[in-house]
Amino acid sequence: MARLNDDAQWIVLMGFIVSFSLFFLAIVLNQSTVVGQTTAEGVLEFPKNDIRDVRYEVLACSDLSSAVWGEVQKDMTSIAMDRKNAIVTFNITSAPPGSTFKNIFDIHYNNGVTAYNETANY
């Protein structure tokens, strides 16, 4: 049987090379729009103002009795869970005698993406 004439296979080979390079380019472009976040999305996602606000509110409880700030803690926990989808808890203990500060605050914030824990002497 005569050998199949495969002289011109290089044309089809060139065609395949061009197609594969096109597919590769498409994959690269696809990944570049999905993997990178825009700066604005990053800014919106990080809860900078939420955490600062929680801190200010908790530190404003420094002069309250433990029954009162216990209720404030329950307020913040339930409202934050309900409206902000975040877990906010804090604890206030008195500072050891002789310290320059009054209380030790343990603040915890977690909105599912960002977790923040702080121990503050205030």
Partner: protein, 343 residues
């Protein structure tokens, strides 16, 4: 022998042509895929946001000793501008930093600002402006904003107003026989320990070491006891004394200028005063000569031509520059807005 006819068959040409046409058409479709990726303009808003955060929420680098106290010769030591009062007080701005940042004689647009607040490899044009809601203060640096196509951010701030003491001279008139003299001394007392300990929150604190201190003495013409129309008041000198704990009182230096009778330029002492004298101690003036535990005394010496009882507290007690609102106008926070535009 090899075949070197050098002609191609027509069928080969036909196949090759179809291939080339298809290849060229596909190649021209590639730029259409890449058209959505842009280079430069996409990050103007990001740079504007970052510049806004650096200016409004950061105190600058170096923060201690503060960058705004570095003079023009030392401006290379300033690594980053920032207008916030301290790291823990974002959005509350210090007036000294504002005045220094917008000072066009100290810093050149755009190079000095590009290196210290805008950052980035690409040279951006920018405009930073700040104004208070009551329009009393309005600063701006940079080019005029174009009509569109710029990155933008707007931040709200509170600007700390410096404290000042306005002293009504007749209230401190000296009476009694031994007060009838020509030389009178009035002393203002700055107790650094009390000032820095009583109020520890920086936005509401009077910080004598880092902030401007202003003392206005008013209504001097009614401070005589015996009205003698020919009597002339001369503010002859202002001397500053310091007392550190467990050390004796020491004279530090004299202060040689004062704004007399509502004038716009400072006059050097000794000078004749009619009605009022204002002394402005610039921010950082006391920094080198006192520490957090010092007591500072600012002694005004007035000389009269003919002896009289006058504005004098050397027999009573020094005037305390403290947190009493009767004696000192307390530092106040005033709302303002900062806008940054980058293009």
């Amino acid at each position: 022998m090899p075949d070197d006819h050098a002609y191609l068959s027509i069928d080969f040409l036909a196949g090759m042509t179809i291939f080339m046409v298809a290849f060229i058409w596909v190649a021209t479709m590639i730029p259409g895929l890449l058209i959505s990726l842009q280079g430069g303009t996409i990050d103007y808003d990001a740079v504007a946001y970052r510049t806004g955060v650096i200016l409004v929420e950061d105190p600058g680098m170096p923060a201690n000793p503060p960058w705004e106290n570095k003079d023009d010769m030392q401006k290379d030591e300033i690594q980053r501008f920032g207008l916030a009062l301290t790291k823990d007080n974002p959005n509350i701005l210090a007036p000294n930093k504002i005045e220094r940042f917008f000072c066009s004689t100290s810093f050149n647009y755009p190079d000095d600002y590009q290196r210290r607040v805008i950052f980035g490899d690409r040279p951006y044009s920018f405009n930073v402006s700040l104004s208070t809601f009551d329009a009393m203060m309005n600063w701006s640096v940079g080019d005029v904003k174009p009509d569109g196509g710029y990155g933008y951010i707007r931040r709200l701030v509170k600007i700390k107003q410096p404290s000042n003491a306005t002293i009504n001279a007749p209230a401190f008139r000296n009476s009694g026989g031994d007060g009838n003299v020509t030389g009178h001394v009035f002393s203002v007392h700055i107790n650094c320990t009390r000032l820095l300990q009583d109020v520890r929150n920086p936005p509401y604190q009077i910080d004598p070491l880092r902030e401007r201190i202003v003392v206005n003495i008013t209504n001097l013409m009614n401070a005589y006891v015996f009205t003698d129309p020919t009597n002339v008041i001369t503010l002859s000198k202002i001397i500053i004394y310091r007392q550190n704990p467990s050390q004796p009182l020491a004279q530090v230096r004299t202060f040689d200028t004062s704004y007399i009778d509502g004038g716009n330029t400072a006059s050097s002492l000794p000078v004749i005063v009619n009605d009022n004298a204002s002394v402005i101690f610039p921010a950082g003036f006391f920094y080198g000569m006192a520490n957090e535990n010092s007591h500072l005394y600012i002694n005004y010496t007035f000389k009269l031509n003919t002896p009289d009882c006058f504005f004098n507290n050397s027999f009573t007690s020094p005037y305390d520059y403290d947190y009493s609102p009767i004696r000192v106008t307390q530092p106040l926070l005033k709302e303002g807005v900062v806008e940054v535009a980058i293009w």
